[in-house]
Symmetry: C2
Subunit: 434 residues, 2 copies
């Protein structure tokens, strides 16, 4: 390689291909020598972590180097199920994770698993069929099993993973039934393994901001929350349209985001729930499952919430929190990206709406790193099994209300906030609600 001191740069002939790298190195060396830029701007290294000083004024956004853990020090994740969510979102997110790495693939399709393994450098020995899955107990490269299969398979795979000595990250909804969810909690407890439900929204800066605005009473007390989550699905017989696989229709799949949000925004648990569902006649998508579900939740503090979800209307994901002196919320609120936080209040004689955008980061990377942080600290995950189980109970109450023509179904009164949640991992830094 070329000598990258100033002398080297000017003293050697560097081909075009080498110029870019050489210039960077030489500039760094040169400024030290010539004193044209303060040396402090080159940053510092402390315990293997690189710091760079801010380049922009305090009024501007400044980035930070991600400082990922070395590959050998990261927790290994086995992804179970190679469907749309795994292939389009979860597996690519390992390119952004800092504390976990993709270690193994588990699939019912050997051909697909080998193709994906080749793309991401996963060796053949780390590819498991569903039948061979239990052998994962002998695979020390795997610390966490991330379950991304249809809802009705969450319980059996969670039980098998816990019994194989692995921690479990399980997609939402936690299960197809309350009983399955309870079994999952028990199995992980019995095996001394941690269980986290993949409530990705709770790990985003956008939703942490909304939680903070709600709980800090920045705009007075919250009075009413509304949410919509849904999209127009193809009539293709996908597992989400099969009740035995999904446990329900749009409610467990996309509706759960709405009532989970009502819960984490308030920190409270609902004491009364109503539900109504539609099942359009003759639409092949809704032979077994509901299309639109509309539901209300009433919380002990008096806050009420109204949510709607569905599988037959154009993508719409909105959340608004109505407080005494302002409203705040988001469009694309439950999407994978481009969440547009908005805050409305009176400003002088105007109705002012503020928009907040954050630098794009993979929600799945943030969520997986949060689980790793909990495992490393030994604390309960922020969204453990109890969090998912409570949503299953609420969902059951919504369906029960719908079956009774929308009549109120009461749930046990609880006190205190965040009783189903573990602490916010300190390693994740800011966005802790007040």
């Amino acid at each position: 390689m070329a000598d990258l001191t100033r002398r080297g740069f000017f003293g050697t002939g560097i081909g075009a291909a080498g110029v870019g790298a050489a210039l960077i190195g030489s500039a760094e060396a040169a400024t030290g020598a010539a004193g044209q830029e303060p040396a402090a701007l080159r940053g510092s290294v402390d315990a293997g972590k690189v710091s760079l000083p801010p380049l922009h004024a305090k009024s501007e956004l400044n980035g930070t180097p991600p400082n990922p853990a070395a590959p050998g020090k990261r927790l290994g994740v086995a992804v179970v199920g190679l469907g749309t969510l795994a292939l389009e979102n979860i597996i690519p997110a390992f390119g952004e994770t800092k504390h976990v790495r993709l270690a193994a693939l588990v699939s019912g399709s050997p051909e697909k698993a080998r193709a994906v393994g080749a793309e991401y450098g996963i060796p053949e020995k780390s590819i498991y069929s569903y039948e061979r899955f239990d052998e994962i107990r002998n695979d020390p490269s795997v610390d966490i099993v991330y379950i991304v299969v249809p809802n009705a398979l969450h319980a059996p795979f969670t039980v098998r993973a816990a019994q194989a000595g692995k921690h479990v990250l399980c997609e939402k909804p936690m299960a197809a039934t309350v009983a399955e969810a309870e079994r999952m909690v028990e199995a992980c407890k019995a095996a001394g393994r941690k269980l986290m439900i993949a409530y990705r929204m709770q790990y985003t800066p956008e939703h942490r901001t909304l939680i903070d605005l709600a709980r800090s009473k920045r705009y007075g007390a919250v009075r009413f929350i509304e949410a919509v989550n849904g999209q127009n699905d193809l009539p293709n017989g996908q597992w989400r349209q099969i009740k035995a696989m999904a446990g329900g229709g749009s409610l467990p799949d996309v509706g759960v985001y709405c009532f989970n949000a009502f819960r984490y925004l308030t920190g409270e648990e609902p004491v009364a729930v109503t539900g109504l569902v539609t099942r359009p006649e003759g639409d092949p998508r809704f032979r077994e499952i509901e299309d639109v579900a509309m539901f209300t939740l009433r919380f002990p503090s008096g806050i009420v919430a109204s949510g709607q979800c569905g599988y037959s209307f154009h993508e719409s994901r909105m959340l608004r929190i109505h407080a005494e002196t302002g409203w705040f919320g988001a469009d694309a609120a439950f999407g994978y990206d481009n969440i547009a936080v908005a805050i409305n209040r009176k400003e002088g004689q105007s109705s002012a709406t503020e928009s907040r955008r954050f630098s794009p980061k993979s929600q799945f990377a943030q969520e997986m790193d949060a689980f790793a942080a909990a495992l490393q600290s030994g604390e309960e995950p922020h969204t453990p099994g109890a969090e998912g189980l409570q949503d299953m109970r609420i969902m059951e109450a919504i369906y029960r209300s719908a079956a009774q023509g929308g009549a109120v179904v009461t749930l046990p009164a609880t006190t205190g906030l965040d009783r189903t949640r573990g602490p916010w991992p300190k390693q994740l830094g800011s966005f802790v609600p007040a």
Copy 2:
């Protein structure tokens, strides 16, 4: 006055104060003489109406002169009740009306009525107390009585106005009870007078656009509609907080916009309704009335709708129609101005949201001119008593459901569209739904 031909302009000395007017006139005369601008651009007059040709390309918005009817040819309106709505919104709107003029004031406060009369040039003889109101039958300057008093007074004033031979424009909600609303319809029918309910949103280009998008199925079939309407009111004992005056709380006052919108967007009548209300303990605003009301409507075509209103959260007025391939709606949807229509759809690989703004026009002027158009054509008003009566029945069903813990209340099934509405007045031009 100065001679405004080119010769006159250059030939006479014009003081500074006269220059503006003189320049306009002289330019018009001058172009004819010198041929610098086509004479056609000066417009034309046909049957007393002025036309001006467009100045901007077809791709640009072009205005039109309003061509109001001469004052002596307009219908005279007596405004009954000089509260916030009348003084801040309705009376100033006569500055924009084209077919009605302010003819008389009716108030329980003689001092206030005289002050307002002085501001708007209404003579003492056209100012009526509530007691003297019936003498309005002998006042030929009054064709229409616009009722802007508390809800419980709508029925008695409507009956008195009809019996005095006047047409009635009545604020929403139509009355405090269904029985009162029925009495109003009957009284106007018996007197051979027209009754219109002041559903101002139905006369705005913004809501006409949404109606057109919904009914034309531009984005496929509508599946679900949501609306929120409310604001944070002072605990001041205003009549809206007194049940006997208002007939209810936020539901009749602001909630009515939501379910009225569900009805005019679909053209259908609901067959099932649910309702839930909150009444915060210890809050002096809600001693007699509800705060938040949440309600659902189910329509014969399968469309479902969810609405929320309240008196304790920051101003929020939103409406979204969720159709198969797009959503459309508005923020500030039920406000007096600044309604921001938005339409979201897929465009290539992007989620595209289009915003539509219309030139500001007084909603009250549009609504009053629409009533005048109906009276002049002899057709039923677009939003007659039947339209308001149906909302009263729905409101009663919502309260009944709430009293039964949210259970579904069914309403009689109906067929056909717009069965409670008169035709869209041809004189109003475009924005007729498909």
